[in-house]
Amino acid sequence: MTTVQDARSAPPSARTGTGRGRRRSRRLTSHDRITLTLMGGVPTLLTVGLVWLPALLSVALSFSSWPGIGGVSSIHWVGLENYRNIFTEYPQFPPAIEHNLLWLAVFFLLPAPFGLFLAVQLDKQIRFSRLYQSVLFLPVVLSLALIGFMTELIFSPTQGLINNLTGDTHQGNMIDWLGDPHLNIWAVLVMACWRQTGYVMILYLAGLKSVDPSLKEAAALDGANGWQAFQHVVWPALRSINVVVLVITVIESLRAFDIVYIINRGTDGLELLSVLVTDNIIGEASRIGFGSALATILLVISLAFIVPYLITIFRKDERE
């Protein structure tokens, strides 16, 4: 996404350069033009070639039936058959959608506000602030696959930390954190939130550092209490960070994959759209068409979040 923006913003700046004043246009030597073309062109080419072209091909393949063996001639076009199958007879699909949306909702409700809360606390220059900061940020550095592994160590019903601490490892009183399809998604979400909170926190912390301290001083002089200063001075200044956090939250919840794949390959209560795509496309024998249809559905869901965001951003740009 950022590449798209880069690519689009580069040419306009060149154009305004020529439009506003001759001096500036004269300064655009051929060297500059080449630089600008490269800066705008290369990311555009990469994005189109590596992201949009394959995405469009996936959409096309979603109307086909193809085992991925043999040439393009072995592709059969089957119309909406794959979609019909997904919606009517693919039992993993409804839970996968449900889990992706649950993931999204939980990420909005827990790590986002909690990350902001932590950032505000750390911004107050309390003692050992750096230490807390590092500790809270640490999980972000870990890969989600590793966090999946840690989830197993903590939640495994017989050998895991929690059941051994509470003594619930025996027959009868065991809490089946990983096997019970109604419980395991929550165990995974706890771990995913642990990581996401640190991520959100560091973003807000960066935003808070950029808030002019004199604004806060002025608010304090005007008699605003902490909450009022946050509400009327800090929060509006964080608007751009909020957008970033929003986008990160959507992206992280739609692309969730590694953590559940490590635990049980995304079956038995841990179904996610990304896992279903993988299961059908990467595998001993692939159903390329069926998997592409699932991927297209995931694309449509992503677009449903991204398009409104882009529209508001561009509208704002026009107004300014």
Binding site: S65, W66, P67, G68, I69, G70, S74, H76, V78, E81, N85, T88, E89, Y90, P91, Q92, S143, A145, L146, G148, F149, E152, S156, P157, T158, Q159, Q171, G172, M174, D176, W177, L178, G179, D180, P181, N184, F257, D258, Y261, I262, N264, R265, T267, D268, E271, S274, V277, T278, D279, N280, I281, I282, G283, E284, A285, S286, R287, I288, G289, F290
Partner: protein, 439 residues
């Protein structure tokens, strides 16, 4: 993940993690394998008539060492040196379609059954009829049948295999005075007795998804017969039939005796329950549980064939997955590959490979069985006494049906046995659309 049925060679948490991490990378870049094979130079040196390249799914130390030994022996016996591309077990299986269409090695590890015939049918393999004219006398007719494609040509050279059965800890059974049941009623009565003795009657663990398939296969073969089972696997027709429904209804009787929280446990954890005398018995393959009962424990591993349900089918069928080798469509050194396969199809080569491995047995006749452990000898007797041999659900049916459809659906059944009617009608629908499509 059923792939692991074949190579249960001590799948540690770490290797699982690595596999999954590789799998994740594969989402972004499927032809990882092809890249490995063409890039490293390993396996690419085709002009050399003394070298045969080999794609191995045995990157973990235990079988890797055994293969290195047997390849060294192959060099001194045939003058052919083997250039191996070692790949992680599950990654190898996951990428097989891409691999075979890329720049594959001449010879590679694979499995018998539909899992072989599927790729033969796609035209991705060479026939090995010329190899069989040399090694034919080393094998039983059952083995020959398992090595042919649907067109009657040979595509596969069997190497090692192992039976699925009901395993138990001998010393636990001796101390409690249990005896092996042969019928269903004796089996459930024994389970009940074990429960009252404070044991987990049946160690059953299905977090990986595939181990449960073994129980289905056996129940289906015992209740409906081998022919019905194989037809169901091959044609995908009849999933929503009263016969299959009866299998799941029978299966329900066992669920109360299973390990608590079995959907959150791996087969290794289940096998540990047997080893640690917490559980009474377990339906599993020797290839898996044999890697848990090692060293001084090896002799403590006992098993009995899955009990009779319908007397007219008795205990005729045995599930014994066969591992072996295949040759790719256009090998760079065809003659060398034939020579290597001829060597690997001998009792001598298989004996060298087996070494001290107590979890598999050789497929060729004439292996010195005095070197076998007790479980291996018992396994050989069990398989030789079988009237029919099945492979395993993920080897007997289409690969795009076994893992993507059956694995999660069996888990749904185990979670909620009452919903079996809906599950079966759904399996039936999915089977129909998968068999009707070409992918």
């Amino acid at each position: 993940m059923a792939q692991s049925t074949s190579g249960g060679h001590q799948l540690s948490r770490r290797s699982l993690l690595r596999t999954a991490a590789l799998g994740t990378g594969a989402l972004a870049l499927p032809p990882v394998l092809t890249a490995c094979s063409s890039g490293s130079g390993s396996g690419g040196s085709g002009t050399d008539s003394k070298t045969v390249s080999f794609g191995s799914n045995a990157a973990v130390p235990e079988p890797k060492g055994a293969y290195e030994t047997v390849f060294a022996a192959a060099k001194s016996a045939t003058g052919i040196s083997v250039d191996v591309n070692w790949v992680d077990h599950n990654t190898f299986q996951q990428n097989i379609t891409t691999y075979l269409q890329g720049n594959p090695q001449d010879v590679f590890n694979w499995f018998a059954g539909e899992r072989m015939q599927f790729f033969a049918g796609q035209g991705l393999l060479s026939t090995v009829d010329d190899v069989w004219s040399a090694i034919g006398s080393n094998y039983t007719d059952a083995m020959k049948a398992q090595s042919k494609g649907t067109d009657g040509h040979y595509y596969f050279v069997p190497f090692d295999y192992y039976p699925w059965a009901v395993f138990y800890n001998k010393s636990l059974w001796q101390s409690k005075g249990y005896t092996a049941p042969t019928t269903w009623d004796e089996f459930t009565a024994l389970a009940k007795k074990m429960k009252s003795d404070g044991l987990i009657p049946i160690a059953f663990t299905d977090k990986d998804g595939w181990p449960a398939m073994g129980t289905f296969d056996y129940l289906n073969m015992r209740m409906n017969g081998f022919t019905f089972h194989i037809n169901l696997m091959r044609s995908g027709q009849g999933w929503n039939s009263p016969q299959v429904k009866a299998v799941f209804d029978q299966w329900r009787e066992l669920i109360p005796y299973y390990s608590p929280g079995f959907l959150g446990l791996t087969w290794q954890e289940g096998a540990q329950q047997i080893l640690n005398k917490q559980a009474g018995m377990m339906v599993l393959g020797l290839d898996q549980i044999g890697t848990i009962f090692t060293g001084s424990n090896a002799g403590n591993l006992g098993f009995f064939p899955f009990p009779t349900v319908n007397p007219s089918y008795g205990q005729d069928a045995v599930e014994a997955p066969i591992d072996g080798f295949m040759m790719v469509k256009s090998p760079k050194n065809h003659d060398g590959a034939v020579k290597l396969l001829e060597y690997l199809g001998t009792a001598k080569a298989q004996q060298i490979w087996l070494g001290s491995n107590p979890a598999d047995i050789a497929t060729a006749n004439g292996v010195d069985t005095s070197k076998y452990t007790q479980p291996q000898t018992d396994a050989m007797k069990l398989i030789q006494g079988a009237k029919q041999i099945s492979q395993f659900m993920d080897r007997d049916t289409r690969p795009d049906f076994a893992d993507p459809v059956m694995l999660p659906q069996i888990q749904s059944f185990l979670n909620d046995p009452g919903s079996i009617s809906g599950i079966l009608s759904n399996i039936d629908k999915q089977a129909k659309s998968i068999w009707a499509s070409n992918g």
